[in-house]
Structure formats: C-alpha cells, structure tokens
C-alpha cells in the first residue's frame, strides 16, 4: 500500500512537491532557530556567569539590593570562613571571590606627574598561577600582549584601554579609588599584559587585578564583594539556582543588611525576563510553526482535492469507502511529512552546524551595549535539534491533510453518476 502511495507521489509531483517543500523549509527554519537561540542563550549565560554573576552569587543583602555598582563598604566580611562553609554545603559548586572596584587610573610620565588619566571599572580575582580565575576568565586565550600577572601588584588592562592610555606591559599605573571604609586609596600597579575577550562591554575599558593586590589597596583584608558559584556541570540550570538561593536565604535575618544573601544568575545579572523569554521561545516557535504549516498544508490539501476531484469521485464510484479514501490521503501526508521533515532537519542542521563552527559576528552592533555577551554568536546543536522540527513537521502535514481531507465525506455519492455524465 505504502509503495503504491509513494509511486503515486513520485509520478504526480504536483501532488507532493509543494507540500514537501513547505514542510522542509518550515522544519529547517525551526531547527536553525532552535539551535541559534540555544547557542545565543548559552553564550550569554556562560559569559555572564564567568564575568558577572556566577550561576549563583553570595553577597550582602545591601549589595544584592543595590547592585554591582554599590560601594565596597557593603562587602562581605570573614570571607575565608564563609567560603569554607559554602564549599562544605555545596561540594559540586566551584566558589571564587571577587571584588569590583572603580576609580581613576593614572599613568605617570618619567617625572612621576600625570600623563594620562581615565575612569575605569575593574574586577579583582585570584589571578595567581594556581588560582581558578585564569580558567574562568579564559585569560590564557584572551591574552593580547605581555603575560598574565604573577604578583599581587600586577594587573591586566583591556587591549583597547591600554592603547588609549598608550601604555604597554611593564609600565607603572596608579589606581585612585576608595577603601572599603571610604578613605582615599592611591596604589601603584604594574601592567603585566593586555587582554581582548571578544566581549565589547569588557573590551571597552576593563582592568583585571589580583585579589591580594586589590585587598591591600582597598583595605579589604578577608573581605570580598561577592562569592561566585559555578555549577560543576558548567551549564546554567535556572531552576536549580533559584532553589538553592531560596533555601540559602530562608533562615537569613532580613533586618541585617550585611547578612550573606544568595542570588541566582537571573536575579543578580538582571537577565530574569530574558531567561523566561528564551525558555519559552523554542516552544513558541514550534507552536507557531505547526499552526502556520497546518494552515498552509490545509490550503494545499484543499487545492489538491479540487485538482483530484475527479480521481476521488471515480474511487468512490467504483466502491472505495470514504474512510479508505480519507485514510489513503492521510497516509500520503505521512509520507510527504516524513520525507519533508527529514530533508528539512538535514538542511537546518547544516546551517546550524555552520553557525556553530563559524558564528555570526555582531561586534559592530555592540559598541554601546551594556550586556556581557560574546561578540560572535554561535548556534548549538543538541539532541533536541533532531526532533524539534521533525515531529512538528510530521504533525503539521498530518493536521493539514486531516482537515482538508474531510471534504471527502461531503461528496454526495448519489450525485457521482450525474457528475460523470456531465
């Protein structure tokens, strides 16, 4: 029966070509969109987690409320003990201490007088050769010139910032900032190298310093602004992060503004709404696809029925039941859907693979952006890419044929002889 239908489809291309192309194009677009959104989401979450918020972040209640630009006065104290407690309570999360600082970076001339100055924002983490920040911040592959810091008073600058200040590795820099207690802080550092992350927000003007050096400069002994936690799986699990934060904060004294408070990436980075949209987007795309394809294929089926009006009439006249004709139309749709979905999935995977390997550079559009994300957006192919378009493709063809095929039941068999005699 199936081979009979397939022969019919192959010999009468007008019966199969348009629905097949429609399904294939729709499926390939769905596969591509799904892989692209997944890749972009991964890129944003991964970069944000590494540079900004971790998958979860522990900070003081006051800082959690006021955001990352809050004063260092609101930092966590007794961080070594707090970190030990967190490591014991959450062994599958890697914890790292960070200090965020701002101030004026001053470059001296040969006489020690100000040659250049620029306001900067900086991150301090354990940049020592044994520290995990080198891996987290991908410093090895981001190094543009010089070397990574080996001493507490050595720092990295973004390559663009170093070029603007006309400094190179080995030059002395002075950071004018405020201590945790609000006193003026003036500290000398040596530029060990420059970095280029490929993240416009960071490459515009970032200073990376070693935690020990910044602690000494800002009088923050055993203090840190935040403890970032990254899941050992490497992937952000929004539901898990939210659960952890809820249970961690459950017993906290809400009156104490310095009480350690945990936030999931969605809260600390302000990406909550975006995460919700991205989680819903894939399902939404599939739903829209099924609906749109069903309507198109319904229409195609109706046109096919009109064209095959005589054929169906003869089949009914020679005694084939309406149910059998309807089932054969559904079977034809199944074959078209199967082939079209398979073809569409293959084409979609091909484009997705290209975007996964080569990517799409949006650096030019990110000049004034504040979101921390890679300049090169890439798709990500997963197992779900194989079915995300395939199953809806099959379903849409089936639904389209099922609706249009209902016309078979409206044919008046008593009128058939009259129709043929005319």
């Amino acid at each position: 029966m199936i081979s009979f239908l397939v022969k019919g489809l192959l010999r009468d291309r007008s019966r199969s070509l348009f629905p097949l192309l429609t399904v294939a194009i729709g499926v390939s677009l769905t596969v591509l969109m799904d892989a692209y959104l997944r890749g972009v989401g991964d890129s944003i979450f991964d970069t944000t987690a590494r540079f900004v918020s971790g998958h979860v972040m522990v900070t003081t209640g006051a800082r959690a409320r006021e955001g990352a630009t809050a004063s260092n006065e609101l930092a966590l104290l007794n961080v070594a003990d707090l970190r030990a407690d967190l490591e014991q309570a959450y062994p599958d999360i890697a914890w790292t201490e960070r200090i965020r600082f701002g101030g004026l970076l001053d470059v001296p001339d040969s006489a020690g007088q100000t040659r250049a100055q620029i306001p900067i924002a900086g991150i301090a983490g354990d940049l020592s050769p044994t520290g995990q920040e080198r891996r987290l911040l991908r410093l090895d592959r981001s190094l543009a010139s010089g070397r990574l810091p080996e001493k507490p008073d050595e720092v990295l600058l973004s390559d663009d910032l170093a070029a603007r200040l006309k400094v190179s590795p080995g030059d002395r820099l002075t950071l004018l900032s405020s201590t945790m207690n609000g006193s003026m802080s003036v500290s000398n550092f040596t530029l060990s190298g420059t970095v280029r992350f490929g993240v416009t927000t960071l490459d515009r003007g970032m200073m990376l310093a070693d935690l020990a050096g910044v602690r000494a400069a800002l009088d923050m002994n055993d203090a840190a602004d935040e403890l970032l936690g990254l899941f050992s799986s490497g992937a952000y699990d929004d539901a898990r992060a939210a659960r952890l934060a809820e249970s961690f904060n459950a017993g906290a004294d809400k009156e104490d503004e310095f009480v350690p408070t945990m936030q999931a990436l969605r809260e600390s980075s302000g990406l909550g709404a975006m995460i919700d949209v991205m989680l819903a987007a894939s399902g939404l795309i599939v739903a829209i696809f099924v609906l749109a394809m069903s309507v198109v294929l319904w229409n195609a089926g109706l046109m096919g029925s009109l064209r095959r009006y005589g054929e169906i009439g003869i089949r009914l006249a020679i005694g084939e039941s309406k149910g059998a004709v309807y089932r054969s139309l559904l079977a034809e749709a199944f074959v078209v859907g199967l082939v079209g979905s398979a073809l569409g999935t293959l084409v979609g995977l091909g484009f997705s693979l290209y975007l996964q390997e080569v990517g799409f550079n949006i650096g030019g559009m990110m000049k004034n952006a504040t979101m921390v994300m890679d300049d090169v957006l890439r798709a990500r192919i997963t197992l779900s890419s194989l079915i995300v378009g395939f199953l809806p493709g099959l379903l849409a063809t089936f639904v389209g044929a099922a609706i249009s095929g209902l016309g078979v039941y409206k044919r008046q068999t008593a009128q058939l002889a009259k129709e043929f005699s005319g």
């Binding site: 006065e73 007088q113 100055q117 306001p119 002075t174 207690n181």
Partner: protein
C-alpha cells in the same frame, strides 16, 4: 490690605546680595590655618579623619592628613581650578579632575568639588532674601541663591543666615532640576579672633544613606603668615 502688608514686609527684608557680601566678609581673610576633624558615620560604622589646612585667599589651599594612620601624610593642593593629591606610600602626585571631583572625600558627605568651590558666595551666586525665621534661638534671614554661571556645582541654594552675626546656620544645595543634593546644619558657633565661626556642623549627602559627616573645627587662626613655597607641587613631596 494683604498686598500692602506683603509690600511692607518685602521692604523690610535686607538686600540678598548685600547680605551675601557680609557673609563673605565675616569668614574671608587673607590667610587662615585650620585644624579640623571629620567624623564620618557610614553604614559599617564610625571613623574620624583629622586634617590641617593652610588657606590663602579664595583659590589656594594646602591640606595634610594627620589621622587615621593609613591616611597620615597624604597631602592635597588646590591652586585655582586644579587639585593635586600626594600619597607617601606611592610617591605619586596625581591631579584629580573630571568625574573624580564629584567623588566623596575620604568617604565623607563632602566631595572634592565642595572643597574646590570658591568660598566667596557672592562670586558665584545672585541672592534674594525671601523671608525671616529663627534657628538655634537666633533670628535668621532666608536667602535663595541662584548660580551666575552654569558650571557651578549647585545651581541653587537656600541659606538660613544669622541676621546679626552673618553666618550661615543652615543650608540646602540643589541641582538644576531642583533636587536636593546636600544639606548642612550648624551645631555650634564660636567667636574666634574677632569673627563668628561655625565650629561644628553636620553635612549630609541627600543622595546617600547614612547619618552624615560632622565637621568640627578644633583650631582656626586668621591672617597668619604662610610660606609662599607651601602652595607649590614640590611641597607635596616634602
């Protein structure tokens, strides 16, 4: 009748600009040397900063931090519109400019811009006396000040001025949009070297949490000789 009463009241109010001149004359001098303490109450606690300042006219000053230990030896030099700081630990003389001037001085409610400001109000503002009141048991005039130039840090101010001693007892400083940015309230006024001096005042940054910065003048001497060489960048490293 009401209009007549208002006209009579308006006629009794002193000229704002003349009053501003008297305020400047009371506090202004050729030279002065001040030892002061800033008591800063932050969200984490309380701390004090002690400084000694040598002031010459309206546009030159030299300040040395005496305490706390971490800040001891830090020096600041103001020459006209320029401000430099020197810290012995880094042996660097750094010019403070741009947005850094709006930063807090030692975590207090005062900014570098506040420190840099021309202390002669009449140079910066036009004043109108808008009413009479009483404060700290003293009769005061209420003055509304409007900046003469757009680059002034605070576009308008409201002063409560002791009607007899010509000293500002309370103040509100506002942005161009009329938002309250800073307040100050004098707690103690003393007679020093024949002048009325606010020796204790509380400054508050209205945009910041905390209970303000108390500024206490321990000692003030007017018209004392100050070596000319003090107001040079070279003196910062001495």
């Amino acid at each position: 009748m009401i209009l007549l009463a208002l006209l009579l009241l308006a006629a009794d109010l002193p000229d704002g600009n003349a009053l501003l001149g008297r305020i400047d004359a009371n506090i202004g001098s050729e030279n002065k040397v001040i030892v002061a303490e800033m008591r800063i109450t932050g969200r984490r606690g309380f701390r004090t900063v002690r400084v000694k300042s040598w002031v010459s006219g309206v546009d030159r000053s030299f300040t040395e931090y005496l305490a706390p230990e971490r800040d001891k030896g830090t020096k600041m030099l103001k020459l006209g519109p320029d401000l430099w700081t020197y810290t012995p630990a880094t042996d660097r003389t750094i010019r403070i400019s741009g947005h850094m001037l709006r930063q807090s001085v030692s975590g207090s409610d005062l900014s570098y811009e506040d420190m840099m400001e021309d202390p002669k109000l009449a140079n910066l503002y036009a004043a109108v006396t808008t009413g009479a009141d009483s404060l700290l048991g003293r009769p005061v005039w209420v003055l509304d000040l409007t900046a003469k130039k757009p680059e002034v840090a605070y576009q308008s101010r409201r002063l409560w001025v002791d009607a007899e001693r010509h000293i500002v007892l309370k103040e509100g400083r506002f942005s161009k949009s009329g938002k309250l940015l800073k307040t100050s309230e004098v707690k103690k006024v003393e007679r020093r070297s024949g002048r009325w001096v606010a020796t204790q005042a509380v400054f508050r940054d209205a945009l910041k949490a905390g209970s303000g910065t108390e500024f206490v003048i321990e000692d003030i001497q007017f018209d004392v000789p100050i070596p000319e060489g003090l107001f040079t960048k070279a003196s910062l490293r001495r």
